[in-house]
């Protein structure tokens, strides 16, 4: 794939995710909440990590339930500066589009 096109595709997805997260249109799966709790993050840290983040990987969503069938891996910083690694996807619900966090970890312990 053309690298410029890939960059634009990543940037477009990130802008949409940032806008949704900034307007609190996001939700956390149980696994993501566990990551938030175990690393002592708050919702403000999650929002900061997306606002300051960059998309490092785009994968196909095997569930095929997301918009564009894509899952985004975003790495950004919490309010205290700790790196946060998150995986999520855009989903369409009755209330509109929302970003669903599937995994949230401190970047150091990603596997």
């Amino acid at each position: 794939m053309c690298p410029t096109f890939d960059k634009r595709r990543r940037a477009g997805g990130l802008l949409r995710i940032q806008s949704l997260v900034a307007s609190f249109e996001y939700e956390l799966l149980g696994h993501a909440r566990e990551g938030v709790e175990s690393n002592d993050f708050s919702s403000a840290d999650i929002e900061a990590s997306i606002a300051s983040g960059r998309v490092t990987k785009i994968q196909n969503d095997e569930m095929q339930s997301s918009i564009g069938n894509k899952k985004y891996t975003i790495v950004g910083n919490a309010l205290c500066g700790r790196p946060i690694y998150s995986v999520g996807k855009l989903i369409s619900t009755d209330d509109g589009v929302c970003y669903r966090f599937l995994t949230i970890k401190c970047d150091g312990d990603q596997s």
């Binding site: 956390l28 799966l29 149980g30 709790e37 919702s43 339930s65 599937l102």
Partner: protein, 191 residues
């Protein structure tokens, strides 16, 4: 519209659900939410927490720990007392206009982060009482004991060195005095 399939089991669909007396943990604290508006898979029971609900839970923990120092109306009143526009107040606190609107909105659950909350409550106290001892106020806000009992002591010369240290720290942060006619124009550091 596509059916919202559960990401855990891949079979059930995710539907809105109200759970009463829902027990959960927020920042290591066990809390019981009277009515939790969450989403749940109708097959495996996996819980999905919407952002606004999560913020409500965080506010619940903060209020139970006495960390909510100012209510939205207090923040609005403080801004008016300082004679600042929303824009000026955003500059003053190092935040954004959107944040100020959120903090002042009584129906919103967004409170300022702890350092800003502490700063605003110090300014509020400074305005109403004239002069305040910052270190003593910070200690009382954080629930620490008084300075005399908690300053570090020195083993070799406990009395003189610890007294000198405690004096220098007290001098360092002795007073925060805001004039009653304080405006963004005459406060230091603001243009």
């Amino acid at each position: 519209m596509k059916k919202d399939i559960c990401d855990v089991c891949g079979v059930g669909s995710v539907v809105k659900h109200d759970l009463h007396n829902y027990a959960t943990k927020i920042r290591g604290r066990q809390i019981t939410v009277p009515v939790a508006h969450i989403k749940q898979c109708n097959s495996c029971g996996e819980v999905y927490v919407p952002a606004k609900e999560l913020k409500k839970w965080e506010a619940l923990v903060q209020s139970s720990e006495g960390l909510i120092l100012l209510r939205p109306s207090d923040i609005c009143e403080l801004r008016n007392r300082l004679g600042m526009s929303v824009n000026d107040f955003a500059l003053f606190t190092g935040s954004t206009r959107q944040s100020i609107y959120s903090w002042e909105n009584a129906e919103n659950v967004i409170a300022p982060i702890r350092p800003i909350m502490v700063l605003l409550s110090l300014i509020q106290k400074g305005l109403s009482e004239g002069e305040i001892d910052i270190i003593a106020e910070l200690r009382s806000l954080s629930g620490l004991q008084t300075a005399a009992t908690r300053w570090p002591t020195c083993r070799s010369h406990p009395s003189s060195r610890s007294r000198a240290l405690s004096h220098s720290l007290a001098d360092y942060g002795r007073t925060l005095a805001l004039p009653s006619d304080a405006t963004p124009r005459n406060l230091p550091g603001l243009r």
